[in-house]
Amino acid sequence: MTKFHPELHLLTEYAAGDLPLAQSACVSAHMHYCDQCRRAVGQLQDLGGVLLEQLNPEPVGDAMLDAVLARLDEEPPLMYAQTEEVAVSRTPAILRRLMSGDFSDLSWKKVSKALSISYLKTGDSGYEFALYHIKAGGRIPDHDHRGSEMTLILQGGFSDANGSYHVGDFIYRETDDTHAPTALQSEDCICLAVLDAPLKFTGWKHRWMNPFLRLQAG
């Protein structure tokens, strides 16, 4: 059972299709773990259906109906056939679509003794979308955020001054929060981080790291 969730506004923007692609993917991945948010989004989509019904209809001519009727025998694209057979896996489907293989098959960039990063390509140039691998007990240096940061825990967990977080937990930070998460002692932590601006490490000892953490969006 996850304890930390996207707030109402993020869920609403997600249900209404308003979130940028990278953030939407992160919220979607959280719902892989969270029944509560899936149910909430279900109702928020019901609201979308009701609002759709209440629009003032725009006239659509018979020509268009005929055009669509003429296309009904087209072979549907393949994607509709495959939904049934998808086995539910431990990793959210949206991430499996972005990774070829498992976490261990990705190319990881070592940033410090405790931290490796693997960047995934989403096509959303406004956001960096990356997996962070933190060694058990390892500490991520103090850093603050020039923009917002969404984090979703995929394996293990970490703690910071605000509490401890476990698989499925979703954390959203706005600009100018500083924090220094430490992975739990029991196992390595893998989390998804979606950033809308580069991270900047604040401790002087880690200043050299910044070049490695340039925004790698896309």
């Binding site: 059972m1 304890k3 109402l8 506004h9 869920l11 609403t12 209404a16 299709g17 308003d18 979130l19 692609l21 993917a25 979607s28 991945a29 719902m31 892989h32 029944d35 509560q36 899936r38 149910r39 909430a40 279900g42 109702q43 928020l44 989509q45 019901d46 609201l47 979308g48 259906g49 009701v50 609002l51 759709l52 019904e53 209440q54 629009l55 209809p57 725009e58 006239p59 659509v60 268009m64 109906l65 669509v68 009727l69 296309r71 009904l72 087209e74 549907p76 994607m79 509709y80 939904t83 539910v88 959210p92 489907a93 949206i94 679509r97 972005l98 390509k121 989403t122 096509g123 959303d124």
Partner: protein
């Protein structure tokens, strides 16, 4: 759980849980018999609504709006088998298809190079989640009922967020309101519509 199931049985606790409204029946006929007459009825009802959806907020040209209507209606035909009348209202189902098609169209027009289609963002579910079925069956009807009592300023924000596809920040900028005001109107509207966000 924040919701008690006692006391309101008569209005929604139908034993089979099956929806029997006209549009769900149309979808079932399409799925089971490839019924073109049912599709035509469905088209005449929903196509004008999809077109209104496409044109609201209006960054979309007439040509693209027409393309979107055709795409959405064709998908309802192709995907009708995936519609489960026990899980969702027909309007919710059509809305999610229209929302996804619009998102994909915008990304196509903006030449996004992404491996993801909007459909991929719907999380897969393994279990049947019986509780959520009851919740969602009831939720559409209840929202429709409560919508009438929503203050104009709240309804206006919901229209921007859902139909025009604006983020809260975009809605705030357009209406020249502080972001906090937009957020609190959304929150109040969601409360008034009795949409339950369970938190432990």
């Amino acid at each position: 759980m924040t919701e008690s199931t006692g006391g309101e049985k008569s209005s929604w606790d139908v034993p089979t849980g099956r929806r029997t409204d006209e549009w769900s029946e149309c979808l079932t006929l399409i799925a089971e018999n490839q019924d073109r007459a049912a599709f035509t009825r469905f088209f005449r009802h929903f196509a004008p609504l999809i077109k209104a959806f496409a044109l609201s907020g209006s960054t979309m040209s007439q040509m693209h709006a027409d393309e979107l209507v055709q795409e959405v209606m064709l998908k309802t035909w192709q995907k009708a088998k995936a519609f489960n009348p026990e899980k969702a209202a027909a309007s919710t189902w059509v809305y999610t298809i229209a929302r996804n098609c619009r998102t994909d169209m915008f990304r196509r027009l903006q030449k996004f190079d992404t491996p993801l289609a909007a459909e991929d963002f719907t999380p897969e579910t393994d279990s049947e989640e019986p509780f959520s079925i009851l919740q969602s069956k009831r939720s559409s009807d209840k929202i429709r009922e409560l919508m009438a009592g929503l203050p104009t300023d709240q309804a206006q924000i919901l229209a921007k967020v859902y139909m025009e596809g604006k983020s809260h920040a975009e809605a705030a900028a357009e209406l020249d309101l502080p972001l906090g005001t937009v957020k609190s109107r959304v929150r109040l509207a969601i409360q008034k519509l009795q949409i339950q966000i369970e938190r432990q």
